[in-house]
């Protein structure tokens, strides 16, 4: 963002939708205000000119961290399904999804 003055419009409902969170009216208002305050704070970053500054996505200069293509024992199905809220015949289950 080039202009230091411009504050972004936060569409709280759209963001909540993306994050699969549901907020009631009171929560939405409170969240909106808090987010606006924090985002305004984060806006401080726009003071810096980072034109030629490379990003650092990883602090350690690691690369090519890979493993051999050798199988290892999988986790027992029972252990994997143990915490499942609903399950049937070895599958995790959820309400019927309309096909996408």
């Amino acid at each position: 963002m080039e202009q230091n003055e411009k504050k972004p419009f936060i569409n709280v409902e759209a963001v909540a939708e993306l994050a699969r969170l549901s907020l009631n009216d009171a929560e939405r208002t409170a969240m909106g205000n808090e987010m606006a305050a924090i985002v305004a704070f984060a806006h401080k970053l726009s003071e810096l000119d980072c034109e030629n500054v490379p990003i650092t996505a990883h602090v350690e200069p690691l690369f090519n961290v890979m493993r051999e293509d050798k199988t290892e024992k999988s986790t027992e199905r029972d252990a994997l399904l143990r915490g499942a809220p609903t399950k049937a015949e070895g599958y995790f289950t959820v309400p019927r999804v309309v096909e996408s």
Partner: protein
């Protein structure tokens, strides 16, 4: 495909190919197809808390090979990114893929069209993980099997260079063949190891601008690809002709009705919020490593095609048919090495053998030893047996895989080349079939065929057709 008025079809394909590694892309679970649900899973591929991904080296190698085989530039530096969205088949609620720095870019494939060779551009190839399988059930709702979660995929994105349904099919066939030849995938469309998404728009010929495009996901047979494209092209043209506008959306192709339907789900409006995956360091490849991988690629279809046409004198068309499937090409080469009549052998394979096999060459291996086909070709080439005997024998050894040379010996199937004996039969037949002779003399040249048939019958089908023909012509002339 017939164009309507002067509306041009603009089509690009996204093909997902499952790589034939032993383990998944980010964990060491096995990738074998058809296991009991959720028996090939671990905390990593089921997205359990605290689990972390570690990249499978073989996936990078295979992806590079696929890129080299399709003439791509291999990136010296590439990274993995998270694509965030919610769906029950996606355990982490993000897919690890590649966004702006894919492993391969800027390649192409050559296909044969009616107007000759055409290049279809390949924008990029990147690696990513597959999602799980969903099964819809009346009792339980939707059932989730995570065995497929984390199976490695390459996504091959073509430029929108395709202009007809036929070109699309030719492209997919060629791509499949090339990938199969590299050995990085078995490309079984019916098992889902090769899946096609079709992006399609239309525009008036000569226009520079692209029309609005729709996407049809997961079309898994050549026939359906062709039908879906033809239907969607027509649908879009009709909309535009009526003055409407095409809606940008994902549509589902229904193979029963042959039509496409809008999916109208909110997923269309997804913001994937791509960002570099902090759990995975980048991949850096040197020229040396890439070259080594290139050397590991077996000869690709086009190279083999050229070899067949030059060395064996096959037609381009025949060579193309033989190289469409690697197993067929490997088989042909074993046969061709064992006979001095490779062109004949090719003919036999194409016109007779392929007809006998089930339609998908992936499934079944050819149940005849290559040396047996070679022997048949040699015998036919040398004139030991005639073509109809050869045909019959091939069908028989397809069932039994016996040695045709022995069969010819034991059953006395050798071609009769003895001109004296044949002349005897010709004279007998001509004398017996006065009706045909009269018709022939009256100008009906086809009548000679009937007499030919009778002579053949007398030889038990083993007469040398060329010699018989000559003798017959001579005999008829005399009359």
């Amino acid at each position: 495909m017939k164009l309507i008025k002067d509306y041009e079809l603009v089509c690009g394909l996204e093909v997902h190919v499952e790589l034939a590694t032993s383990t998944k892309i980010f964990c060491s679970c096995p990738t074998t197809f058809g296991a009991e649900p959720n028996t090939q899973c671990c905390p990593v591929c089921t997205g359990m808390p605290g689990a972390l991904p570690v990249l499978n080296r073989q996936v990078v190698d295979y992806a590079v090979m696929a890129g080299l085989a399709t003439n791509c530039r291999i990136a010296g530096y590439s990274k993995q990114d998270r694509k965030n969205y919610f769906y029950p088949d996606l355990p982490k609620a993000y897919q690890i893929s590649q966004y702006d720095l894919p492993l391969c870019e800027g390649g192409y494939l050559e296909i044969e069209t009616e107007e000759g060779k055409k290049r279809i551009g390949i924008t990029r190839i990147h690696i990513e993980e597959d999602a799980g399988k969903l099964i819809h059930d009346v009792r339980y709702g939707t059932m989730i099997d995570c065995n497929r979660c984390g199976v490695p995929l390459i996504e091959i994105v073509s430029e929108p260079d395709i202009r007809s349904a036929e070109e699309a099919v030719a492209y997919v066939k060629k791509l499949r063949a090339v990938i199969m030849y590299t050995g990085v995938s078995d490309c079984r469309m019916n098992e889902g190891s090769l899946r096609c998404d079709v992006n399609l728009s239309v525009r008036k010929k000569g226009s520079e601008k692209f029309g609005t495009r729709t996407e049809m996901k997961n079309i898994n047979s050549f026939t359906f690809i062709r039908e879906a494209i033809e239907y969607e092209y027509k649908r879009q043209v009709e909309i535009l002709e009526a003055g409407g506008a095409v809606v940008q959306e994902t549509r589902r192709y229904d193979s029963e009705t042959g039509e496409t339907y809008s999916m109208r789900t909110k997923e269309n409006a997804n913001d994937y919020r791509y960002f570099p995956d902090p759990d995975l360091p980048p991949v850096i490849l040197t020229d040396k490593e890439v070259d080594a991988l290139g050397k590991a690629i077996p000869r690709l279809p086009d190279e083999r095609k050229a070899y067949y046409t030059e060395k064996y004198g096959l037609s381009e068309y025949d060579a193309e048919l033989l190289t469409e499937n690697k197993r067929a090409a490997d088989y042909f080469e074993s046969v061709a090495e064992a006979t001095d009549y490779p062109k004949l052998a090719a003919n036999m394979m194409i016109s007779e053998l392929f007809a006998l096999l089930p339609p998908d060459l992936d499934e079944v291996s050819i149940p005849i030893e290559p040396i047996h086909i070679a022997a048949l070709a040699t015998m036919a080439g040398e004139g030991t047996i005639n073509s109809s005997v050869a045909k019959k024998l091939l069908r028989r050894i397809y069932e039994t895989d016996s040695d045709p040379v022995k069969m010819v010996e034991q059953e006395g199937l050798a071609q009769i080349n003895d001109a004296v004996l044949l002349k005897k039969y010709v004279d007998e037949a001509v004398a017996a079939d006065t009706k045909s002779v009269t018709a022939y003399k009256a100008g009906n040249t086809k009548a000679a065929k009937a007499i030919m048939g009778k002579v053949m019958a007398m030889t038990g089908g083993r007469g040398n057709p060329a010699v018989i023909n000559e003798l017959l012509e001579a005999a008829l002339l005399k009359l």
